[in-house]
Symmetry: D2
Subunit: 91 residues, 4 copies
């Protein structure tokens, strides 16, 4: 069985590699004693990029696993699990 995000795999990987590059960029800025506010602006951008990956995965998961579970009468547990994950992202 393939993951719910199978179709978006390349897109997710591309975004995560970019986020990894941004994190390394932030490290470089700190090593070079760059101005704190410039670093914070970069960090806020990384955070927004992570939220977008999170939303994309939540969407794939809902269209895939949750939908399948509902159709196969296992919707309750799947939705419990989805809510736990949403609560963590909303914290």
């Amino acid at each position: 069985m393939s993951a719910s995000y199978a179709q978006d795999k390349q897109d997710l990987m591309r975004r995560l590699r970019r986020i990894e590059g941004q994190i390394r960029g932030v490290q470089r800025m700190i090593e070079e004693d760059r101005y704190c506010v410039d670093i914070l602006i970069q960090l806020a951008a990384v955070r927004a990029a992570i939220d977008k990956v999170g939303l994309a995965l939540i969407e794939d998961h809902t269209r895939g696993c949750v939908r399948d579970a509902v159709i196969n009468n296992r919707g309750d547990e799947a939705i419990d699990e989805l809510m736990d994950v949403l609560a963590q992202f909303l914290k």
Copy 2:
């Protein structure tokens, strides 16, 4: 002149390297078609770690640059800039 976060530099670098490792861990999970919810839990942890680095930098910035600016009668601009950055983190 040293950056406001000079004293925390090693700690910040250590945390950012760990975040970089977590991002690579998420990439690996996607390559291995791991379960979406497990990936989302990891992503939420990365997000929380980034917020902590952000807060640490905001604190250093306030104790350093903003305080110096206030003492030297340039507080207004420094606080404007701080508020812009906070607004981005609260989005």
Copy 3:
């Protein structure tokens, strides 16, 4: 047809009346020139309470409308709509 949150209606109303009371409490604090930090702590509590009501509604909506839509082959639109709402809460 009843709303997806029909069973939680009393609980949601009770929480929203408490939030309304908290907001009036914040107004009173401002009128009485109370200390900013005490007001901010109250505001952060209101924000957390609103997020909880939001999560409860998202859960009811997913268990109700979204599940029904999936079963009746209208899952795509229902999930599109759910994602739009999540994106607003994650901002």
Copy 4:
């Protein structure tokens, strides 16, 4: 001594009364069994409005109390307190 937000008092009160009205609007929507997604959109708007009031208060507090504390050599405690409050808003 007046509060740091003395100058913004009318503006803050006006915004908080509007938020109170929005919360009552959400209660009405629930009583009328309105569609969950429409209620969630309203709730997200309330949350954004509360964040704006929070940012305005944080700004007034920083320009007032924190600045005064820095000038009077009590900056450390004031900044500790500010960071605690920011951490609650970033949660």
